[in-house]
Every structure is written in C-alpha cells, then in structure tokens.
Symmetry: C2
Subunit: 334 residues, 2 copies
DNA sequence: CTGTTAGCGCATTCAG
DNA sequence: CTGAATGCGCTAACAG
C-alpha cells in the first residue's frame, strides 16, 4: 500500500496537519503567514518518517484541495516541427525553476486537450477555424487557455499572435528582386486566414514584381515530416525549376534546403530559400535560414505561459510579437 | 465557479449519485453490476443539465477515488530524435482508442518524472547508470514504470530491451567489406554499457577486418540536434575523409546524410551511412537508411505500455526485441 | 426497478 | 501542535 500522509503522521507520532506543514515547507523559522512554526525536533522526526516510508504526496489529492496541478500543457500539432521544439525547449527551461512541469500533448487535435483539463494552463498552437473561437471561449470558463492564432480575439482565453505588418511582403520582394522563378511551399493544414497572411504575400508579391502566378510553382505539404521534403523535390526536379522558394514555415524551408542539397543544388547559389517562424534550428543550420518572424519570441511566450500558470485568475490578454524579415545565408542580401 | 456534480444534480433535480451513474455510463438497460439502472427520462434530464452547465468531471477528484488517471507518461530525453517521435506517434495512435492520454515529458531528466507521479504508467527511455536501478526500483513501488534499457533487469519495473545479437557486428562488417576508411559517430550521452554494444561492435569490426582504430575517425555528438550534424561535417571535411560512417543512432546517421549532401557528396556513391534504431524517418527518407534495429518495435512497445496502463497491478516483465541488420539504399548490398 | 444516503480517498488549512 | 472541516466525485448499501 502506498504511504499516505496518515501513515507518516502515525510513524512520526504527530497529526496529519503537522506533517502537511512540515512537508510543504511552512515550518521554518520565518514561518511565512501567521501561526505556523513547527519545532525543529518534530520537523526532523517527520522528515525521517517520510523518508523511511518513501512517502510522496498524492498529486491528485493535493490538486483537489489547492486547485492547482503545477502542470502546464502544451498542445502541439506537429511535434517534429522546429517551431514546436523551440516552444517546448523554452517552456521547459523557464518552468524548471518554478516547480511547474510542462507536458506535451503531441500530434493530437487540441479539442482532446480541452476535455482532459488537468493543467493550470494549456497552450494551443494553431486554432483558426471559424467555429473554434466559440469552443475555446466555452472551455476557457473551466481552465486557463492560451491560444496561438493569427486571427482570433481573446474571449476568456489569452491570444498570442504575430504582427506580420509588411514583413512577408518584404520577404517576397527580397526574392523577386533577383528571381523570376519563385516557387512556394504552403501548408495544407493552415487555415485560410493564416494563409492569407503568408500565402497572400506571395501572390501580391508576384503581382508587384510583374510576374505571373503559376499553379505549378505552388506545392502543398501537410503535417508529415517527409511531405514537405517531397513537395520541395517536386518543385526542384522540374525542368524549369524555381531559383527561389518561399516557404510558409521554417519547417518546410529546412526540408526544401535538404531536398535541394540532395539534388546537389547549392544554397543560395542555385536556389535561395526563405521560411517563416525564425526557429533556432533555422538560425543555426548550415547555411543559416533567411526567415520572417519575431525575435525573442519563444522565451517571451514561455514567460507569458508561466505567468498565466501562476496567476490563473487574471484577465485574458493579448501577447503580440512583431515580425520582421531576418536575412541570413540561405537568401542573402547581395 | 466551475460546475460540479452537485450543481448538475441540483439542476436536474436528482442526487449526485444519479448524476455519477448517468455520466459514467452505468445507466443503460444492461446495467453492468447489480442495482443500477436509471430511467431514460432521468438520464436525459441529467445529460441536459450537464450540457447546459458545461460540466466536466474533475479529473483529480476522479483519480483520487479510482486510483486511475488515464494518463500515460512518456519521458523522452530527446524529443527531436526520430526514435522518440516514433514512440510518441505509435503510443498516440494506440492510446486514442482507449481513452488514455499520452503526455510527453520532454528533454528532462527522468528523475523529475518519478516525483510527479500522476500517470497510470510511465515510460522512461534510457536509464543506464549503475545507481539508476535502485532509484527506479524504489519509485516502482509507487507507480507503474516501464524502462527502456540495454542492461537492466526488472525490479518492480518492466524492462524493454533490444536483443542485439550479432546484428551490430554484421553491420560493421557490411561497411568494412568494401571500405577501409570507416568513421564512427557516437553519442556522448549513452552510457558505457550501451556504447559497449554499439561502439564495441565498431572497434571489434575494425580489428576483424584488419583495419587500424583511429581516434580521429570517431566523433562525438550530444543531445543537441545540430551537434550530430557538426560532428559529421568534421568527419567529412577531412582530407582523408571516411567513405563509410557507422552511427550509433538513426538520428546521427540522418544528420550525417544531410551533412554529406551539404558537401555535395553522394550517398551511397561517395559515402555510405548506417544507423541504429530502425526509425520510420530513416526508412522513408531519400535515400532510405540502412540501419540496425527491431521490426515492429514501436507498435509493440505501444501495446505493451497500454496494457500496463490498464492492468497496473500485474507482475513486472521484460519485452525483448531482436535486432537485425536492415539493408537499404544508404549502404546497399552491392 | 429506480433513486438516495452516506462514507470513502488524501492532503490542505482554519480555528483553537 | 491538533481537531475538524473542506474540496470533488465514486460507489456500496439501502429505501421506496
């Protein structure tokens, strides 16, 4: 049988209340709050008893009393995406110091995350469908929610969103400036509104540069890791292959670079590649990835999530990150 | 205020017990177990009340009563490793149908997973240090544990392990058969005992082939994704670069292929590459990866974990998977 | 056959 | 330092 606070109390010869005080640290000389203060000898006896029995507080029981689980849930639709990895890493680092454990719900519809509501705060990456807002608003009445979305407004839940500004347009101009054959990789899972920001910049940019829009220069990829690679291969194996590729995520851009290298094409000599998201993998790969995105985003997001986890009752807000074009080696300036 | 079973009962005009019966499905005509059976009209009223209030059962309260959380925890030391992604995907698929939610504890020491024991079963990938067994055995008294380990024996916790046999030796022979310059990529985080199986095969294989062991043909990589890429670059940028690379994980082998392609080397023409783990990413990439590993491992592991989650009280056992050499395009047969 | 009462499980925390 | 109440849902035993 698993040891409970009661067995510890019995062994130490004290009440369960005392055990609770000792084990949750409200025992020391400073005795934060009124009234507490357990004799050092008792503290020792309790600690020994707990150790001897191998006692661990039952998290469920604790949660039922305190209303806090010290869990932070990340619902990430594609865990192999470097963007998701960055989120995970940043949150993991920030949470470690605060006694909060981040858990990842991977590759699942976020709707299931809403049912299983046992985290102090839940982060949802990418909900854009029209009907989603209502679902989220309803779920937000029962749990703290932070939603990454290009288009939504807070409704009980917090919203984290990019401020694209003209960054995507600049990015496309960056490519059309020296290239007439500019291909595009778009995600099949992004909603139309997200695509409006990312893909719309592509079509508008072509028009601005006086280039024709060509269906066959646009390839679609989906969640699957190899799907983006294959999409890029299709683009690059054409006789009149694009000499520049605009990808709507860093993930796809990185896959495109690998695909190009597999075909023995040089980056940026033979093909230039540009992504969106400013992930660390893109920053640190060789060649480094030219991208559109915010700076300091992941740490900022992590801090925001931890704040929400610790103050679950504050008002819902918006966390905005301005995007800009970040020029690196895969599509350099000159 | 969050709706509880009590508020639902009040709205529906019944007792909390009835609500519980209805919502946990013990209401229908079959009424598994004695006594139960709620009138259809009542069922409807309760369901409507629950819906109207947006009621969700409190998972903590439920867990405290039933002793089950319906959570399955995966402690994965490197989430970007395709091996970990395969584990996650397989478990996610298998768990979805059974009302169990898999959660990932990423990039953390598994010791923290043991403290936060709120899952029906916890999977730990890679614990090999001598002192670990004792820690795990102790933790296993409080929670169901499944440990992936080359070397450990069950001690209250289950063990999942490969049976390497001569597969790694065959793999090295496969390379030394046509190559005199065979490099090696080894993980800095694997324990010495794991390395004995994987790395020992390399040194023994060189000896068998009459080749000298060279320090400078062995490069080390660590957890970091780019680290393996850089290690491979170092190997491949030598004047007398290896013409074959034996990597101790698929992860490193894939990075090596990317590194080679970046240097415009052909796989397998200029460099042959071989990994360990038999991941789906290796299988499906271009060129497909020659590797050492089990077949059907991930689904087998997933089934094993779900079984443990559902029968937490069974005896601890061993799940073994025989490894074999799987020849594909990155290091073909002829 | 239908529904209720009452107690349980664990840790927390206020009032003494 | 302790007694006792508290939070939420489950379920055995019982009553209509």
């Amino acid at each position: 049988m698993r040891p409970t606070i009661k067995s510890v109390a019995a062994v130490a010869g004290v009440s369960t209340a005392t055990v609770s005080y000792v084990l949750s640290g409200r025992s020391g000389k400073d005795g934060s709050r009124s009234g507490s203060g357990v004799a050092p000898a008792t503290v020792l006896r309790v600690q020994e008893a707990a150790l001897a029995l191998g006692y661990r507080p039952n998290q469920s029981a604790r949660a039922i009393r305190t209303g806090r689980t010290n869990l932070l849930m990340l619902s990430l639709t594609m865990i192999s995406d470097p963007w998701a990895l960055d989120v995970s890493r940043a949150v993991g680092t920030a949470a470690a110091q605060r006694g909060i454990t981040p858990m990842i719900l991977a590759d699942t519809d976020w709707r299931v995350a809403l049912k299983r509501q046992n985290a102090d705060v839940t982060f949802i990456d990418g909900a854009e469908e029209p009907g989603d807002a209502e679902l989220l608003a309803q779920a937000a009445r029962l749990q703290r929610l932070v939603v990454f979305s290009d288009t939504m407004e807070p409704e009980g839940f917090d919203v984290v969103r990019p401020v694209a500004g003209s960054s995507c347009d600049q990015a496309v101009d960056h490519l059309t400036g020296r290239h007439h054959r500019v291909g595009c990789l778009i995600s099949s899972t992004h909603s139309t509104s997200t695509l409006d920001i990312r893909f719309g910049a592509y079509t508008r940019g072509l028009a601005r540069a006086g280039l024709d829009y060509r269906d066959d220069y646009v390839e679609t990829y989906d969640r699957d890791g190899l799907s983006a690679f294959d999409a890029a291969l299709r683009l690059l194996q054409r006789a009149d292959r694009p000499t520049a590729i605009y990808a709507t995520t860093d993930f796809a851009a990185i896959a495109a670079i690998h695909a190009a290298q597999r075909l023995q094409l040089r980056i940026p000599g033979d093909v230039e590649v540009l992504g969106i998201g400013n992930t660390t993998e893109g920053e640190r790969m060789t060649p480094s990835l030219t991208t559109v995105g915010p700076e300091g985003f992941f740490d900022g997001l992590a801090a925001f999530l931890l704040d929400r986890a610790e103050n679950p009752d504050g008002p819902a807000g918006i966390l905005e990150f301005p995007w800009k074009l970040i020029v690196r080696d895969s599509a350099p300036s000159v």
